[in-house]
Symmetry: C2
DNA sequence: CTCAAAAATAAACCTAAGTTATCGCAAGGT
DNA sequence: ACCTTGCGATAACTTAGGTTTATTTTTGAG
């Protein structure tokens, strides 16, 4: 189990433990990455989709743009996240994806993927699990936007970000959230003005502070209670499709 | 291509053409179904999940219940839909699913599934495609709830239902929508009162009429324009993960 | 260090949709 | 024929959050 520092590997190992062979494949997968800048498009709606993409460093997001000029952020991607899983199914990108920060990405084209999947069934299963978790996050955001008020909505989003970070729980009280109030508004279905108001109100309650893209969570427990946050949808224990490797080495 | 009448087969064949061997497997899958009544729970959040479930007849929906007593409908399932795909990944049901109408379901337990997947790779791919399409529908609903006003939201939902029906386009002008205004409100993040108002307003515009759970779409084109509906997310052409069978045997 | 551009805050005002309450109607049971 | 029950419509009133405009604050380029 070398290369512990890779975001992606750490992220995958939340779901499946990996054999050395699989780790080697993954290391290979990340080897030639390229730098990208904040604002760069990774792809746009309708593009042909025959690659997976690993966000080696940096944050990005997917969005839908509406005819009236507004946009809806659908997913936020953190370092180590794998992008474009679902799109493998139908060969077309279904939303625009752009970088929120500078970062690095490495791309994995389809022939290499076929090979990867054939050599590592459990990685394929891991992708299934990840796709599944993404769906759960989307459902949770739908619940937020449809049923929670502005304060709960923002609080819930902050709890989710906190829970998704790879840092140990103790280090998650204070973190970088590289989304402008405009981005947050577009993610949560609110106006920038109301995001600002709502941050003020959360600060008033002594729950959260935000300065220069840095979030400080003052009272995580109370924040989760206010938000109605239950992190269960972010966990998973994938016993069914991904049996543990018998012993020493595998398939 | 026997058993054309099966909802599920017709639904799957929107994505992949099936060999006789696969059709036989599916027929087997639906053979022993059991009747269920409107309101019955198919499962609840937290239940162990080691089965797939085919909705042979009838409509159902998945929902999240919130501490304040309100609920959010997440997905609407139509006859032929396969339920519980994502849950295979982590072995726990993540939302409550109940029947909207009387119907029939047939269950497929895990050992049989393993067998199914091993014998029919393209069916496994089809499941991936379906899971993917579900995610697209969820994303679209998030956009609806976050960005569209009540009229567009309801219009969009009706367009989506219309598009999902198996009937040929010509027969979709008038259809049964077995959701009460309460259900619609819970699905679209509105109040029942406002659902009522909004139906009135759509009727006023000469677009839609609803009586006793029956929808009549008077002007589909104008309705789609009003809703900003683009059905692309419901199609898909799954070339990547599901290569066509060699030759002779196709459908 | 300066200045322009971008981002955040603040205040005043507005509106879409929620809430509450009442009434009508159709379907089923007795 | 009568009552009950559930669903839908309508009206009056309230409110959360949007919009607009103006005023800071921060950032970043030179």
């Amino acid at each position: 189990m070398q290369d512990v520092s890779s975001h992606m590997v750490r992220r995958l190992q939340r779901f499946v433990s990996l054999t050395n062979a699989e780790l080697a494949l993954l290391a290979d997968m990340e080897r030639d990455s390229r730098a990208v800048s904040a604002g760069d498009w990774l792809w746009q709606e309708g593009d042909a989709a025959d690659t997976l993409l690993v966000l080696t460093e940096g944050w990005s997001c997917s969005a839908r743009y509406l005819p009236d000029g507004s946009r809806q952020l659908l997913e936020i991607f953190l370092p180590g996240d794998i992008l474009g899983i679902g799109e493998l199914a139908d060969g077309k990108r279904r939303s625009d994806v752009s970088m929120l920060t500078d970062g690095r990405i490495s791309e994995y084209a389809y022939p290499r993927l076929r090979e990867l999947f054939e050599r590592a069934e459990r990685l394929r299963s891991a992708l299934f699990v990840i796709a599944n978790q993404r769906q759960a996050m989307l459902a949770e955001r739908l619940v937020s936007v449809a049923r929670r008020n502005a304060r709960q909505r923002l609080a819930h989003f902050l709890c989710e970000c906190r829970a998704r970070l790879l840092e140990p729980a103790s280090a998650r009280q204070r973190f970088l959230l590289p989304l402008s109030q405009q981005d947050l508004a577009d993610a949560l279905g609110m106006s920038t003005v109301h995001i600002s108001r709502t941050f003020s109100s959360l600060a008033c309650l002594g729950l959260v502070r935000r300065r220069h893209y840095h979030i400080l969570i003052l009272d995580p427990a109370r924040l989760e209670r206010l938000a109605g946050f239950n992190g269960a949808y972010l966990q998973c224990d994938p016993q069914l499709l991904a049996p543990e490797p018998p012993a020493a080495e595998i398939q």
